[in-house]
Structures are given as structure tokens and as C-alpha cells.
């Protein structure tokens, strides 16, 4: 006998799994509305919207948010360019060491962030590069490239080489072929990869702590804020924003590539 419906036990187990993963996040949302600001008390003594106003008025939040958005945007742009070029080279041509390069490109995402962080920090020190906005961007770009590369390489494999030849045959030079044939065929993969890269960069902590100077990205700001016992729900309000800002692109990336190929490299 076959049934499309899952057995009850399995349903309960799935329910537990989902609750285990998502209840803590809901808790964060709830505390964003609590009236009590010294400790996280359960159940909250009362609910208020005032923390939204308080958060809005805090310049340090805006500074951190602005920095995070800038870092994420620029890392994503760097990743899009380098990741696409890398994917094109690996999937379009055959050369000695191609497999090794393919592996080396993916390595940063497999390495623990702390290794990447320490490595970059020593490298910047050795090269006498002062820690700045750009060192954070470089640090983030290392793993953002991987996400874009993974998405692009999967798509490049499906764009058959004869399409490029057909375009050339019909009179298009390399630039026109890229513009009219390659780009339209890989655009959704690039968009998905770019959004994932953005989301990864936006909530990155470990590599950032090693590569930042005095700057505070949003996640770093939150870490610091948690230790201080004042206006705690502000952190929760910001956390809500972070969840939304990172969740939406991931959701969009998921829908864009659904049914075409897997969104590789989501886990960092």
C-alpha cells in the first residue's frame, strides 16, 4: 500500500525539528517589543513599540548598518566579476591544473572562517596594509567569490560551447557574444549568486573581527551591544532587520534557481 501522506510520527518529528530551528528566532522578535530593558525576562512584562523609535534615533546603529551595506555591496560586486571570470575559465577551457584551480577556488568556503581570518590578518600585517574598510571588503570577497563561482560554473556547463561559436559564426565579436548570448543565459545564476554573497557578507562576524580596524559592521556592533546592559531591545530590533535583509535575498535566490540547478555554497 502506498500513501502520499506522511505517517503521524514523521509529521511530529518534522514539527519538532522546525520548532527547534525557528523558535529561538521568534524569541528574538518577541524581545524586540518588551518593556523591560535590563535583562531578558520571560514572559515579557509588557509590550511596546518604543524601541523602534529609540533604534531609529541611534547614530551608531545607522553607522554600522551603513558600513555593512557598503561592505556587502562592494564585496558582492568584486565577487561577481572575479567569480564569473573564474567560472568561465574553468568551464570553457581545458588547461593543466584546471581541477586543482577549481578546488582552490572553493576552498575558502570549506575552510573555517577563523583560518581565513587569521591568514588574512597576518598577510595584511606582513604587507603593512592598515586595517580599514577595504581590508574588510577583501576578507568578505574571499568567500563571496566562491558563492558566485559555484552558481556561475553550474550554469556555464549548461550553456553549450557551440552557442558561443554560433554567435561568432553569425558575425558577433567576443564582446557582443558575451552581451547577447552568454550574459542572458547566466544572468539568473549571477543574480542568485550575488544575492547569496550579499547575505553572507552582511552577517559575517569571524573574518570581519580579524580584518577590521576600528570600524564596526552590524554583526560586530550587535556582539558588543549584547555585553552592555542598556537598551537591550535595540539589539533585537536590529536583529529583526538583519533577518529580513538577509532572508529576502536568500529567498529570491532560491526562487530564481529553483528547478534549474541547485544553489551551491549556501552553507558557510
Amino acid at each position: 500500500m502506498h500513501s502520499d501522506r506522511a505517517p503521524l510520527g514523521l509529521k511530529i518529528a518534522a514539527g519538532f525539528g522546525l520548532a527547534f530551528m525557528h523558535l529561538p528566532i521568534l524569541l528574538i522578535f518577541v524581545y524586540a517589543f518588551t518593556t523591560e530593558d535590563k535583562s531578558y525576562q520571560w514572559p515579557p512584562p509588557g509590550f511596546t513599540l518604543k524601541w523602534f523609535a529609540v533604534t531609529w534615533a541611534r547614530p551608531d546603529v545607522w553607522e554600522a548598518l551603513g558600513l555593512s551595506l557598503q561592505v556587502a555591496s562592494i564585496s558582492t560586486i568584486i565577487a561577481l566579476v572575479l567569480g564569473t571570470l573564474c567560472a568561465a575559465a574553468v568551464s570553457r577551457t581545458r588547461f593543466f591544473g584546471r581541477e586543482a584551480i577549481s578546488l582552490l577556488v572553493i576552498l575558502p568556503i570549506a575552510l573555517p572562517g577563523i583560518i581565513t581570518g587569521i591568514a588574512l590578518r597576518s598577510a595584511f600585517n606582513l604587507a603593512d596594509i592598515p586595517f580599514s574598510f577595504w581590508t574588510i571588503v577583501l576578507g568578505h570577497a574571499t568567500f563571496c567569490v566562491v558563492v558566485v563561482y559555484n552558481n556561475a560554473v553550474a550554469r556555464f556547463r549548461r550553456v553549450s560551447g557551440s552557442l558561443v561559436e554560433a554567435s561568432m559564426d553569425l558575425g558577433a565579436n567576443s564582446f557582443q557574444t558575451f552581451r547577447y548570448i552568454i550574459l542572458p543565459n547566466i544572468s539568473t545564476a549571477l543574480l542568485a549568486g550575488g544575492m547569496l554573497a550579499f547575505a553572507l557578507s552582511f552577517d559575517e562576524v569571524i573574518v570581519t573581527t580579524f580584518t577590521a580596524g576600528q570600524q564596526q559592521t552590524l554583526p560586530i556592533w550587535m556582539l558588543e551591544e549584547l555585553v552592555r546592559p542598556r537598551e537591550r531591545p535595540v539589539t533585537n530590533v536590529v536583529a529583526m532587520v538583519v533577518v529580513l535583509v538577509t532572508f529576502l535575498p536568500v529567498l529570491a535566490a532560491y526562487t530564481l534557481t529553483r528547478g534549474t540547478d541547485t544553489v551551491a555554497g549556501q552553507g558557510k
Binding site: 561568432m168 559564426d169 558575425g171
Partner: protein, 327 residues
């Protein structure tokens, strides 16, 4: 007639692999020319050398008198129909066909009109708004054809264009390609591994083997007068008779080619042992062993068909034994 494509000592080597080896070739303008050979014989590489996707490692190619060296594919006045059609999946059929004209800078209305005209020519009028993925294999093939022809190339290169079609469609497309070539009058260069296709369509056939042309000529020449055992076997599935045997019959020490349909069962002749019999419909193929020489013959409908294991006597008219003494 002027020469459309001329190869002079052209080679394309990949390391030790000689894909094309010192090839000389002269294709006339307006000719329907077939490059025939097994896979890896260098026929597709030769086509790609003309299109500009490959560069010769030696020799010189001239396209309508102009030296092709250094001219990229997009500046050559030839167009290709690819084996997998290579239709652009993100464009509809009309934009696929109009792609070359768009690149050439033709305004939209004009190029769409030309594209629709080209689609009419290949009997696909009204299909312009569809996506390639919505078409059948045969229809895609026609779109690929229209996309190449709309640019009015001086020569059309076809790389196994019928390979992916089923038998019936293939025969129909053979007819259509042939009449299209006649009405357009442009040079068609056609790569195939199917000898029937090459023989039925082409004005001239070049038989490729191991990067070289082993024989070049009209289909009848290739079929009835093969110059080497390879051509006899590959093109006509002729029986290749060893020189010793041919010497006894004709006095010439050379390989002989004997067409399967030229051999018949007779009272007197060469004795042979039947090994297997297969019914083909219009004829019956009988494989036999004549001394140590394997022999395949085709018996027409109505002939007495022997059984496997029978001892038979076979004969042929002396004219039908083609002695390959030119090599």
C-alpha cells in the same frame, strides 16, 4: 568556375595527433560538396578550419580567393549549421534567425521581415514567436538553416546536420537541402559519416581517413570505382578481395572491390560456405566464406535463398570486379 574554398597543404595537429594532415582541397563555387568519413577522420576539423573555429598549424586556406589566415569567424563570409543546431535558448525563433542581421546593425522591422521570409523558405512561417525548446528536432534543424541562410553567406557549412533526425525526416531533409542548394546556387559544404547521405546529395564527395583525403570525386566514381580498400569498404560496403585472389583472376596484383549486389548464385564459379542469412526487406543479405575470403552478397527478391551451412557456388561478371590498381 572559380574556387570557393582552397586548402593548400593544410594541417591541424594537436600535439602528436594529426587531425588534418597536409590536405589539398579545391571546392568550386556553387558546388554541393560532401566530406565523408568515420569519426575522427578530420572532416569536422576541416569544416571548422573553414569557419575559423580552428587555426591550421601549417598550410594556407583561401576563401573565395582571400587568405583566411588571421580572419576571425565573425568576419568570414560563411555560415555554419551546427550539429546540435546551437539555437539560442533565450531568444524566440524569429530573434534567433535575425541574430546575424541584428549584429550587422539592421533595424528591427527590417531584420524581422527578413527573418520571417527565411522561416517561410524553410516551411516554418508563423513559428517566429515560439521558443526553440517548443520545436521538434526537424523544426530546430530548419531554424538553424534559416538562421545561417538569412545572412546570405557565400558558402554554407553543414556539420552533420541530419544526424539527430529520424530516418524518414532525414530523407525528406536530404531532398529539401538539395533543392534549396539548387535554387540558391551557393556553395554547400556538408560533413557526414553517412555514405548514403553523401552519395545521394553531393555533386562531389571527399572521403576522409586519418586526417587525409583518400579519394575525391563524383558519387558514382566513389561508389563504383573506389581507389582503396578503405573507400570500397566504408563507402560501398563492397567486398574487398585480396591481391593474390585478384591476381589469379585478372593478372593484376592489386586489391579488388566487388559490390554485394553484383554477386549471384550460379552453376559454375567459386564455391563458398554460407555463414548467415538476414532478410532486409527488398533484398536478402547472405554472408559467406569463399576459401578464406569473407564475402557478403545481396540477393534480390525472388532469388533462391540458401540456408546457413549450405555449400553454394557464386559468380559475377568480370566487369563488376573493380581492380584498385591506381594506388
Amino acid at each position: 568556375m572559380t574556387s570557393a574554398i582552397r586548402f593548400s597543404g593544410v594541417s591541424r595537429h594537436y600535439g602528436d595527433v594529426k587531425a588534418v594532415d597536409t590536405l589539398d582541397l579545391d571546392i568550386a563555387e556553387g558546388e554541393f560538396f560532401a566530406m565523408l568519413g568515420p569519426s575522427g577522420s578530420g572532416k569536422t576539423t576541416s569544416l571548422r578550419l573553414i569557419a575559423g573555429f580552428e587555426r591550421p598549424t601549417a598550410g594556407e586556406i583561401r576563401i573565395f580567393g582571400q587568405i583566411a589566415q588571421g580572419i576571425p569567424p565573425y568576419k568570414r563570409n560563411v555560415n555554419t549549421v551546427f550539429q546540435d543546431y546551437a539555437l539560442f535558448p533565450h531568444l524566440n525563433v524569429r530573434d534567433n534567425v535575425a541574430y546575424g542581421l541584428m549584429i550587422a546593425g539592421q533595424p528591427k522591422a527590417q531584420r524581422h521581415k527578413a527573418a520571417d521570409g527565411a522561416l517561410e523558405m524553410v516551411a516554418l512561417g508563423g513559428y517566429g514567436d515560439r521558443k526553440p525548446s517548443e520545436l521538434s528536432g526537424g523544426q530546430r534543424q530548419r531554424v538553424a538553416l534559416a538562421r545561417a541562410l538569412v545572412n546570405q553567406p557565400k558558402a554554407l557549412l553543414l556539420d552533420e546536420p541530419l544526424g539527430a533526425l529520424d530516418l524518414k525526416l532525414r530523407e525528406q531533409m536530404q531532398e529539401e537541402l538539395k533543392s534549396l542548394q539548387r535554387s540558391l546556387g551557393i556553395t554547400f559544404i556538408f560533413v557526414t559519416h553517412d555514405q548514403g547521405e553523401a552519395l545521394s546529395m553531393a555533386d562531389r564527395v571527399a572521403v576522409f581517413n586519418k586526417g587525409r583525403i583518400v579519394q575525391i570525386g563524383a558519387p558514382e566514381d566513389i561508389y563504383y570505382r573506389p581507389e582503396t580498400p578503405f573507400v570500397a569498404d566504408f563507402v560501398g560496403s563492397s567486398n574487398v578481395l585480396p591481391p593474390e585472389f585478384v591476381a589469379k583472376l585478372t593478372g593484376k596484383h592489386a586489391y579488388g572491390a566487388l559490390r554485394p549486389e553484383s554477386v549471384f548464385l550460379a552453376e559454375q564459379g567459386h564455391s563458398a560456405m554460407v555463414r548467415s542469412v538476414s532478410f532486409l526487406g527488398a533484398a536478402t543479405r547472405v554472408s559467406m566464406q569463399m576459401d578464406k575470403i569473407p564475402l557478403t552478397i545481396l540477393l534480390p527478391k525472388g532469388a533462391v535463398i540458401p540456408k546457413a551451412g549450405d555449400a553454394v557456388t557464386v559468380a559475377w561478371s568480370a566487369d563488376d570486379l573493380h581492380v584498385m590498381d591506381r594506388t
